[in-house]
Symmetry: C2
Subunit: 407 residues, 2 copies
């Protein structure tokens, strides 16, 4: 199957990352080398931009600007959280037909893969010839098939550094410190809090993950144990931890917020967990009340900082994000496939190496994966050395964490 002539649309979708523009530029730089592809259109705010015919001509961007945009965090084309209806898909095909678009690249996580999948299926039903490719990104690292996803390495680097700093801070001014970290259903990002540990008593001393529901009592007794042993305690908590005492199996955030008023959801049905300090403050009060009223207890919620922080970028992550963009184009014009997603597979062996494969859209769409069992300790309140071995190559070399020999 020779590549079909026509124009291309690229969109970005879902939460921004520090390296999502690397993928965008990867797609563009690969597309300009394909003779069959004419115009390269950037859709502003993803599918919303297609519906509104809101395009940028990416062929007009200079190589210098593209390189600088690649190094700039967050989605340069704008993003969106939107699942298109069949009716909206047909309107998109009208727009695409008008612009003779035959290639669609969508950079995002599982929800964006679902959108790509829907667009692809609807194009088939409508008889509109379109090659739909999804380019992976998500700080949550919860895409199936993939060893890991672009965006995770840099966000994990932020979390590792943040906890390294916070542990040093807590050692200097002891007390209980609670850090709330992003990750709706998967604990990968929260687990990264362990990566900056160097000394046996370095924090985080406790890591609570969405994969292991936990009770209030257990959190308090865990904190009490660590505090009694070390005189301080640093806790990393996922925003998605589940209340083991809740009959409905909801997250603590949902339990707390449901008492406060109606809950915000997006069109994918996701409840807002970030952008609020509620869980952190609630946990700090819980610990204070149950472990010690006189304890110095503080809580920080990392919120949106962790997903696109300029200057805290993993070089490995940046390079892989770029390559995912290039590979999507290679798969799209290579002749073997009409649709798919780029999957990152780790080669076996001691040396860290990644192979890029094409996978079916349905394999990465919608459903997510969780932290594997062997990455979580039996007690359920920490990560294993297997996790550290898995994640360390993804974050780049970490900053200095050195103590005086005398202490």
């Amino acid at each position: 199957m020779a590549a079909r002539g026509g124009n291309a649309i690229i969109g970005q979708s879902g939460g921004p990352t520090a390296v999502i523009n690397q993928s965008l530029v990867g797609v563009v730089e690969a597309l300009v080398k394909v003779p069959e592809v004419g115009r390269i259109l950037g859709a502003r705010h993803g599918v919303k931009g297609i519906l509104g015919e809101d395009f940028i001509d990416l062929r007009l961007e200079s190589a210098d600007v593209l390189e600088r945009v690649a190094a700039t965090p967050s989605s340069a084309l704008g993003s969106v959280r939107k699942k298109p209806t069949p009716e909206e898909c047909r309107r998109m095909f009208d727009v695409m037909q008008k612009h003779d678009v035959r290639y669609f690249f969508y950079i995002g996580g599982n929800d964006s893969a679902e959108t790509t999948h829907i667009v692809n299926e609807e194009a088939r039903s409508a008889g509109y010839e379109l090659r739909c490719f999804h380019v992976p990104k998500t700080v949550d690292n919860d895409l199936r098939v993939n060893d890991h996803t672009p965006g995770y390495g840099s966000a994990a680097r932020f979390v590792a550094c943040a906890l390294m700093g916070d542990n040093l801070d807590n050692r200097a001014l002891p007390g209980v410190k609670i850090d709330v970290i992003m990750g709706r259903n998967a604990g990968f990002l929260t687990a990264a809090s362990a990566l900056g540990r160097r000394y046996p008593d370095d924090g985080p001393h406790l890591i609570y993950l969405p994969e292991r529901p936990v009770t209030r009592d257990r959190i308090c007794s865990d904190v009490r144990d660590v505090y009694n042993r070390l005189g301080r305690c640093v806790v990393a908590v996922s925003e998605g931890i589940i209340d083991a005492d809740d009959p409905a199996g909801r997250t603590f955030t949902e339990v707390i917020l449901s008492e406060a008023g109606p809950i915000e959801q997006d069109t994918h049905g996701n409840v807002q967990l970030s952008g609020s300090g509620a869980l952190g403050d609630w946990l700090a009060n819980l610990v204070k009340k149950n472990v010690g009223e006189k304890l110095r207890v503080r809580a920080d919620t990392f919120g949106y900082l962790q997903r696109s922080f300029p200057g805290v970028v993993s070089p490995v992550d940046a390079a892989e994000a770029r390559e995912c963009g290039r590979k999507a184009v290679e798969f799209a014009v290579g002749g073997s496939w009409l649709d798919g997603s780029v999957a990152m597979i780790r080669e076996p062996g001691e040396e860290y190496r990644i192979r890029y494969e094409r996978t079916e859209l349905r394999n990465v769409a919608k459903e997510t994966r969780s932290l594997p069992d062997d990455f979580i300790t039996l007690e359920g309140n920490n990560v294993t050395v297997e996790f550290v071995r898995y994640a360390l190559p993804l974050v780049g070399e970490l900053p200095e964490n050195c103590r005086l020999a005398g202490w």
Copy 2:
């Protein structure tokens, strides 16, 4: 006056910074060159360590470890928030006499300068011969006499990067974003949120500082104006902003927390403002209720992340922190003074250059300074170009912030 023979104590005090260990190592590397100085003792947790005779022999530390400790954020000797009583001072002199200590170096902010001042005055009254020198540090940048203080440049770099990333995030997924930034009484750190702006419509679009009390109505109408103009709004808020409607002139945080229960204070009389998302969440609700129920409003509180984040360090700041440590020793053994603090004075002229002077302890102790009037716009909700000119040389080169030419 020749330098008197004897041993030296170094302590760190107050909130950690990313470069406070540079100052520690600066003091140590200068002291080892002074023949009159024998042992160099590090007091763990500042004055608390002196009272408890809890010392580390810093002469035993290798040059390699010292260099790596200098590059590690937070206080390697441990920190403390404690104002010694006259009685405690006399107990400290007993300890010092026992160890033949004649030099006391204390690294910290205005509260630590006050402690150094108290120790110095009490030593005079008690007839205990001691040279007391304060080495400046504070992310708040509120020490008097100084152009700026070590620790500020790196924390300001963090805040500038954070807002740069958050502005890019907000441009990709528009809405109202509120970021709460440290700074008890002075708005220097919050003002640094402006340093990453590059394009005319880059956020933060509004900056609220402790120096300008503001009403709830004004915040809401400001946000409404920006949102109507740009379709989005990024707001940087100091944790110390004052409620202009409160008859007692308290901070919003104090007003909110006073409704929630008793307020925590340290021995310097400071109320806890950090380590809680209360102000951010409250502001998000305020905006939602008054500007638009359907608005996407999020709030992040940077908390402790901003003061000692590994890897986000201003090279200028690190070098100056080191030099402040060295200068304190130079002043202490130079023969002209028995006590004092190191002050950083900016040389006039286009090129950025700093001169180090000895100043009286009372000049930097206790009282703080605020953001000068010409750094704040007349409207009181943003900073001027004069501030940017002042602060840019302190944070080092900032990461890339580049848009597509087409948007």
